[in-house]
Symmetry: D2
Subunit: 145 residues, 4 copies
């Protein structure tokens, strides 16, 4: 297990926030958002973060880098319901030559609902390991333990 972040419950510790409204299709028969849907929210938020930092998907492909998910962890604290707007707070928390760890806090109206960590490996277009691009270094936060 490479996972080595402990995402704090304070939104102020995160550099980026992205709002997502829970879809009806993402709920389940328990009446709340299904636990697998959270991974879609994390991914959408990473893509939004990169876009806002000037590294949209099309450009990444030009740079010859992709970020494969090699580990994912979610801690579900309180359920999310249909039509609630989830603020996905995100920070880059740990960087090695070949991997990047991203920490997340999901809140609804300021209340924590979940925390999460994803670990990514750099891969080139053929799927082989690739070094993390230099620009990622600029976004590493020291607030994520």
């Amino acid at each position: 297990m490479r996972l080595a972040l402990d995402p704090p419950l304070d939104p102020g510790a995160y550099a980026h926030v992205h709002p997502i409204r829970a879809r009806f299709a993402e709920t389940d028969a328990m009446g709340v958002v299904h636990h697998a849907s959270y991974l879609l929210y994390l991914e959408e938020s990473r893509v939004a973060w990169m876009r806002e930092r000037g590294h949209a998907y099309a450009e990444l492909r030009t740079e010859g880098i992709d970020f494969a998910v090699i580990e994912a962890f979610v801690q579900y604290r309180r359920p999310v319901r249909f039509d609630e707007v989830i603020d996905v707070h995100l920070a880059i928390g740990k960087l090695t030559r070949m991997t990047m760890q991203v920490g997340y806090l999901l809140t609804v109206a300021g209340e924590p609902r979940a925390t999460a960590v994803t670990v990514h490996a750099g891969v080139d277009p053929t799927g082989r390991p690739a070094r993390m691009p230099a620009w990622v270094q600029d976004f590493v936060s020291t607030a994520l333990g």
Copy 2:
């Protein structure tokens, strides 16, 4: 609209049947299977039908043909619940040089829950239109009006 099949409610009209058990993740907050999940059941059944007829996915790629979905229609008759086993009955109902129509009847314990039609276009690996392969002709049923 190319859609031109009227799938009958008699399972005997279908050449192939494939059982699928509804996953919890496929339900929604109404307590039943979400309407988008049905398209996943249709697709799994088409793949199973082709595999059993000797045309598994890997072979299709070798043959240089794929079947893009160009139209899809589902009529939801009665809800499907978590953990129910859905028998997806399938038949090839209409074939032109470039398109194929597939009809479906979904039953649970013999009771109709939905009918559906998908229309497919032959495409080559570059995404351009391609002729339907000759072997599909062998499976056309005349029972789907």
Copy 3:
């Protein structure tokens, strides 16, 4: 089949538009958005339309009405790719005492990618048929044939 709309390709025929950015998780191994994902876009757009018209989900439940999907049809015209922003144009096209038909046009940068129709039945909280609420009548468009 109750389906009786022919959604036009002119965005001007639709009363409402809702933008959705395609998620990576919604693509498939063909490199484009999977055909089942379109139903999620239609649903999100219906919910957004109702919210903007003053009938958010919570209120509908208070009114004692829900709109079950009884038929769905999608015509896929050109693929949608990851990270493209889809404008989902929507109009209420046909209303009976117990059912409502909704027409959709999906465009990317003004270019049509798909059209769709969903047919809904009013249901009360116990799942039994219910009359369409009067407010829906105000939004019926005559532009959808």
Copy 4:
């Protein structure tokens, strides 16, 4: 983080195995199964395990117990491709009065593709914490460290 299992790579350490064939809809534009789909495989396997042990979903509801996911961890080792059959090996690895940890090994043709852990809390029909039922104790494996 309650997560405290280290799922071994030896299939012999797991008491239960459940095969699942990867659907096309579960792949993404990288050409492999999307990382969120793995959570669906874990859930289907848990449900199958409980059914085979005589505790099908309907019965659990009668017993007044449900198992909410409070943590989930997946380690992705090698990609899974469309139409591959995944053997999901499962074992109950740690039990407290209120929680249960489940360990998983996913293999394709004997080759490890992923390991995972889910942590569950017992909840009663109103969503409040409930004690783990006694029958779960019978299935705890000591092989999951």
